[in-house]
Symmetry: D2
Subunit: 269 residues, 4 copies
Amino acid sequence: MCRWAAYLGPELFLEDVIASPCHSLIAQSHDAHEAKTRTNGDGFGVAWYGARDEPGLYRDILPAWSDQNLRSLSRQIKSHLFLAHVRASTGGVTSRMNCHPFVSGKWSFMHNGQIGHFDRLRRGLESRLDDSIYAQKLGSTDSELIFLLMLQHGLDQHPAQSLAATVNTIKAEAERIGVPAFIRLTAAFSDGQHLYAVRYATDRFAPSLYTATLSPNAGLCVVSEPLDGEAGNWMPVPPNSFVTVKDTKRIAIEPFMIADEFTPALESV
Amino acid sequence: MCRWAAYLGPELFLEDVIASPCHSLIAQSHDAHEAKTRTNGDGFGVAWYGARDEPGLYRDILPAWSDQNLRSLSRQIKSHLFLAHVRASTGGVTSRMNCHPFVSGKWSFMHNGQIGHFDRLRRGLESRLDDSIYAQKLGSTDSELIFLLMLQHGLDQHPAQSLAATVNTIKAEAERIGVPAFIRLTAAFSDGQHLYAVRYATDRFAPSLYTATLSPNAGLCVVSEPLDGEAGNWMPVPPNSFVTVKDTKRIAIEPFMIADEFTPALESV
Amino acid sequence: MCRWAAYLGPELFLEDVIASPCHSLIAQSHDAHEAKTRTNGDGFGVAWYGARDEPGLYRDILPAWSDQNLRSLSRQIKSHLFLAHVRASTGGVTSRMNCHPFVSGKWSFMHNGQIGHFDRLRRGLESRLDDSIYAQKLGSTDSELIFLLMLQHGLDQHPAQSLAATVNTIKAEAERIGVPAFIRLTAAFSDGQHLYAVRYATDRFAPSLYTATLSPNAGLCVVSEPLDGEAGNWMPVPPNSFVTVKDTKRIAIEPFMIADEFTPALESV
Amino acid sequence: MCRWAAYLGPELFLEDVIASPCHSLIAQSHDAHEAKTRTNGDGFGVAWYGARDEPGLYRDILPAWSDQNLRSLSRQIKSHLFLAHVRASTGGVTSRMNCHPFVSGKWSFMHNGQIGHFDRLRRGLESRLDDSIYAQKLGSTDSELIFLLMLQHGLDQHPAQSLAATVNTIKAEAERIGVPAFIRLTAAFSDGQHLYAVRYATDRFAPSLYTATLSPNAGLCVVSEPLDGEAGNWMPVPPNSFVTVKDTKRIAIEPFMIADEFTPALESV
């Protein structure tokens, strides 16, 4: 289980989310409150949108709390849209290639959760990928594979549906090999324009997800747990929800994978 | 505050102390019970005596729990005498040079604790070192400096006295610049023959220190906290004590820095 | 293109091969003479046999020339059989998982060379692996995949044939997808008892391979290039040869992949 | 001996200097032409000025050629003024704290060269530093100490004189302990407004230094060796010169340490 935070809104320094709040992401790397594992010291990463269509990416294997580069970069870099992640491995080795976010073209993706029986599902799932997408696989985590499956299932055309199709693919593969489908999935992803998030699980324990504006004039944060440690200031996102943030004023929270049909409908806040 | 474990006795694999016990040093790196900081993820190190007079040294900046090399090395390397350490920084940056143990010739040293006001005491203390000893300084921690001061004060000739002289030097320097002397010092060190340890503080909170034999036929461990998580199986070393382990059957625990005089006297267990 | 050195014989310190010779493996990491790339700074690794059936493994992403741990470990660890490697990436990222040697159970393997069109051949080759072998894949290099294919093709039962079958599999896959087969392969591997090596290429440029005894009483080295920089002291292994070292006195060099049949025959030196 | 490049002018992506030119700094890390050591693989760093008074700083111990983070960061970050460095150690260990540039407040500094007999001069030189400056020392290189001595000698008030005073201090200390003064010093430094550089040596072998505009509309580069490998496009800076770049059109090259007096005089190009 990991911790992450995403931001969309007026440009601000990465450190305003990553380092400065009292329960900032760096603080959570050392002492998370709502995570299965208190310590998230198995690497970190940040993807931010700025001067290019594709995001910048900085990932390393040190704990976030001890990386001097992260401190300096997050003090210098401003962005209107970024994803930041601290990792607690549920199996994969600690390497840069296994650190989130993962990036492909303009897309970035990060994840908190896991696929049960992943070691047995892995090959069947990988076989669903086209060569061009498979070639992008650099690590060995379930999280990276979820992202690649989303690309396979049309992330570019319809983000929510690609994620639903990915979940269904995992379920189908589990059924095929005869293991119970077990998925916990709280993820954020972006194409550089909108910010998407999901909170989902096949059981009752979907990893926590909150949203709030950092301040009256700042943009919107979507996070694993409140950056100020004050749950009262944050809106919990219900389990089995899909979140679309178009801008600070337009956030839509819809059911995800509850019924057969999935009908996204963007609403004003 | 860090965690450490030292061993002297019949040869055993490093992993029997570092990785295998239920509350092994690697387990403590993730979840220490008696430390000020639960997580000890700012690097680790092990010094072991074997084929040479000087010890082997393996240190790295990853958390001990995620280092595959440490797992493999501790499964392969046998030693009759070794020191292992997981670090929680109280200030210094995370670098290999700041990881314990520190080594000089045949001596190895590791430490849990800190010198108060170290930033103000540092230069005065460094000025006490001969050029040849100062030249060995590679990092920037108070721990390394304690070790160098011990070398300066005759570690080779009389280990306990060199440590007492080091403590007195730190106190004198604090007095000289007008800050209260504040030292917490639970350390282990070795010349490849004997194993020495100390538990000391200028206040009532000397960091914990325990000793026990791992099994009827195994040697003696001196540790920050019990390797099996069972305090009942371990003998706590009282505060302000100096420990000398000559072999599994001969361990001496004497007062340290309590009165003016310091009279080591080796006793049978 | 990488550099490597393997040893079998009376126990000696790893440093006697890795660090001490004038053109040691560490020296070659900085300045190789016969390699396509002079610098081999993309990580290193060593696998050695000792107290366990499976080898110890130490790999890291720094250049070998600057790793203090490697210096200390190779001064302390003695072995009668070990493989050491310095890497110059031909494509894969620099990560520990991509560093040689690769290890599986009692087997270790390291490689200098490459598979042409690997990005296009990769999936087809991976599909030949059983689940249990595929699950061991942690990196993304052609070298690791060669090793896994050898395991697939019966490395345990008949080492040379498993390698020949692997080469044939690669050729067949190239033919299947319509690219010319291009393989350069100078590798060493061991089960902890014998040391095997191969020098092979589909063109005239099989990477160099030499063998020699380090000294009258020492064991046998098989290397990418002479450890003393003196080609005259070393016996070049001809291209398309398979080498079996049973002990210092028994080394067999046989044709590899030259005709259809492959008839290993062990000979005294 | 290291390689470095500095830029001042209209904002451009760091990669336009670090990664894109045919003989870019990353290319030089692998294969320098005019350096004593062809490989500069002992870490790298970049300091850039942007949103804050103090520069951003990214340093790591990998060779520049294999660091994915450096590639991404230099594609995203734009700056009007930056310093970038690839390191070839002349003694100090490979650690982030020993990588250039060094930063203090608004100042950044990087260096190619060395102080002869540094191990014997080090303590005497350190003793010249005020406590507040000494406290900034994190590594163990001669380069960092030169920077701290410049801060000590009034870098804020008069950059060239502070460097001259530093050179004189080193010479005086060498004389005091009775070793010949030997200094090679090709350095760049900045306060976020101007870019300064020096080419100096006590012998006839001052490390090379060139300057050129990257393109008609781009700013000015000051470099260890030409970024396009074409010496004809670059102006060599004579030995014993001090360079001040106020903007693209105003560069002054003056004698440094040639006579007793040092009279800076800014000229138009």
